[in-house]
Subunit: 357 residues, 2 copies
DNA sequence: GAAAGAAATTAACGCGCGTAAAGAAAATTG
DNA sequence: CAATTTTCTTTACGCGCGTTAATTTCTTTC
């Protein structure tokens, strides 16, 4: 496991040579037998250094890669790793997937990225296709509420799976994600410490379970602080969160029902929409003089640094989540794909103060 | 080609049955011979309707999928399609990749998404790995300037490739992308028609060739209009365009060298950074009264609708690009992977007027 | 219902590689 | 140097499926 297998990087080749068809031929050109070369590709350290040198010299000259389909045919497990996210065009998922993917590559695996594009039908097809690839493991951020539980359960029985981002009870061998309570606690604490307690701005029917956890956290924290909670649930379907936030904010401001000058958004994408609405209405957002509203949020979306004003938010520890994901997968693979008990790792948030609150 | 192969969607299975090991076993359970079943999987229409029904009934019951590695081992071509982009965490690429991927799925292919993460080393590894997958075709948006030309050229010799987004001369069988000249023409025309001629705001050493084409287009258009061009090139490396734009804008404003009230950004991500800088400096952007600056840009980045103010931009026709990509790949596959002559399709921009200019 | 045509079956080979067993060759040890 | 251990070679089988050729069985047609 985790051995450094050569990956056929571009090198100066001898072009006059015809293309190598198979390992037999390559072995002959290396002056070795096929089983030895096969051993090398399974673990370069398993052959004598001198033999290894000969193979690697031949590799320089002839640009040969074992046929990936033939290699995997008899294997019960491959070096494939699947990374499945609900919607890759959401920069948050693009970013977390990016970090995990890079970690996988570093560890010598072949990660493949999949997006369910917000549809449970596609999520199912991805999982069923992934099963056929016999991956060593899969990182799955499920769609959430609209996921096909039965399909995911079936998948997790066949493939060692680490859930991330969105937890689904008892699904997969482990869960790695952010601690939603910590997110909300930090933002609410900060906002209360520096001004009025926040109202909570969210989508009414979020597909993602984290949204519900954040609402519950908000309610609990406000209650514990003896403060009256104020939840604003806006309507909207699909993955256009910014537009939903923008529309919802316009409706909110028009209704005149907002009783505070501090809004905590469930996530940054809603906040981005809300800030756009504020700008459109000439509402100045920030903590300074002449500001009508403070806005904070959660996720540290890649774009939250560049909103106007820049968004105060509770950040995911992207690197830490990715590291923990990898670590979990490694021990999962070492345990033969199953854990005795399902572990859940919740990584706390890091508060990032910017100009919006 | 393009046949509707069943994809093993979740169905009610008879759980008591043991798992099918191979096609032989599945054929027996269907009451048919393996070659017939094999024929079916290659083309469901190639067997008698009655036979087809029997297989599909068995498929309902037993949840069998041909071993993907064994299937592809002897094939010189698979139904795999690769989609390679330079940086998937850039929402522009995430969006165009999303649309192309969905089109591929609709067409019955198995698309796989790859991101070079901004590194030519990874781009090379993706291509060399992709070659091994014997894909029917590949959509490649190369890194651009830092791409390893020789590696890409070698890849294109082995695999039918359609370049998109970034053109590299004579590389691949075809290119599909947006018409940078049209982008700049529309924005410059609009800006000149409604106010002062724009200065052009760009990165000094853009990796992406489109940036150079846009600068040239700007210079040409200004020249033809008898106007003096003014190019502002800001420093910066990597993929953090927003931050580069923000820093560059601050430097620009601090220097006092800006001689116009109209800025045309090379792309939306730079513009997002520039708008953030404007906000931070209290510069009001827009075309209305009391605005210090007009800002327009190119790409119709998914967030350009939500900047403050919303960004006037020349939009890619995402759908049209994706459609043309698919169309090109289809005819490429039908032509056996090679075109007589390399075609270049440039799709004009669509101007989107918003509040920023 | 017989002849012609279509579709399925049987049998067999090949793809490229993993892997195991047995023996030969090389490296290591005392 | 001989004895031992390690590594490599030879030989051979198996994986699951594509594919072909020769037959057999089923459909269609008149």
């Amino acid at each position: 496991m985790g051995r450094a297998v050569p990956t056929g990087e571009p090198k100066a080749r001898i072009m006059s040579e015809h293309k190598i068809r198979n390992m037999e031929e390559f072995a002959a050109l290396s002056g070795l037998s096929r089983p030895t070369v096969s051993k090398y590709f399974n673990d370069p350290a398993s052959v004598r250094p001198k033999t290894r040198e000969r193979i690697e010299a031949a590799l320089e000259r002839y640009d040969f890669r074992p046929n990936i389909f033939a290699v995997n045919q008899n294997r019960s497990l491959t070096k494939n790793v699947g990374i499945v996210v609900p919607y890759l065009a959401d920069p948050f998922f693009a970013e977390i997937a990016r970090v995990i993917e890079l970690r996988c590559i570093e560890a010598g695996y072949s990660p493949t990225l999949y997006s369910a594009h917000g549809e449970s039908r596609l999520e199912n097809e991805i999982l069923s296709g992934l099963t056929a690839l016999k991956p060593a493991g899969v990182f799955l951020a499920p769609l959430g509420r609209i996921s096909d539980r039965a399909a995911i359960e079936r998948f997790c029985r066949d493939v060692p799976t680490v859930l991330f981002d969105s937890n689904i009870e008892d699904m997969g061998e482990a869960f790695v994600g952010s601690d939603n309570f910590s997110f909300v606690q930090q933002t609410v604490d900060y906002l209360c410490r520096t001004g009025a307690p926040p109202a909570f701005f969210e989508m009414r029917n979020p597909a993602n379970p984290n949204a519900n956890k954040r609402r519950h956290a908000y309610l609990k924290i406000m209650e514990d602080a003896g403060l009256e909670p104020h939840v604003i649930s806006v309507e909207g379907q699909g993955w256009g969160f910014e537009e939903i936030g923008r529309q919802g904010a316009h409706d909110l401001f028009a209704s005149g029902e907002l009783k505070t000058d501090t809004i905590l958004c469930s996530n940054d994408r809603l906040a981005i929409g809300l800030l756009a609405a504020c700008y459109e209405r000439g509402l100045r957002v920030g903590r300074g003089e002449g500001c009508a509203l403070r806005v904070a949020s959660h996720d540290d979306h890649p774009f939250s640094r560049f909103t106007c004003p820049a968004l105060t938010t509770a950040a995911h520890e992207y690197e830490a989540v990715a590291d923990k994901c990898m670590e979990t997968l490694f021990s999962l693979i070492e345990s033969g794909g199953r854990f005795e008990t399902r572990t859940e790792t919740l990584i706390p948030a890091r508060l990032i103060l910017r100009a919006s609150a």
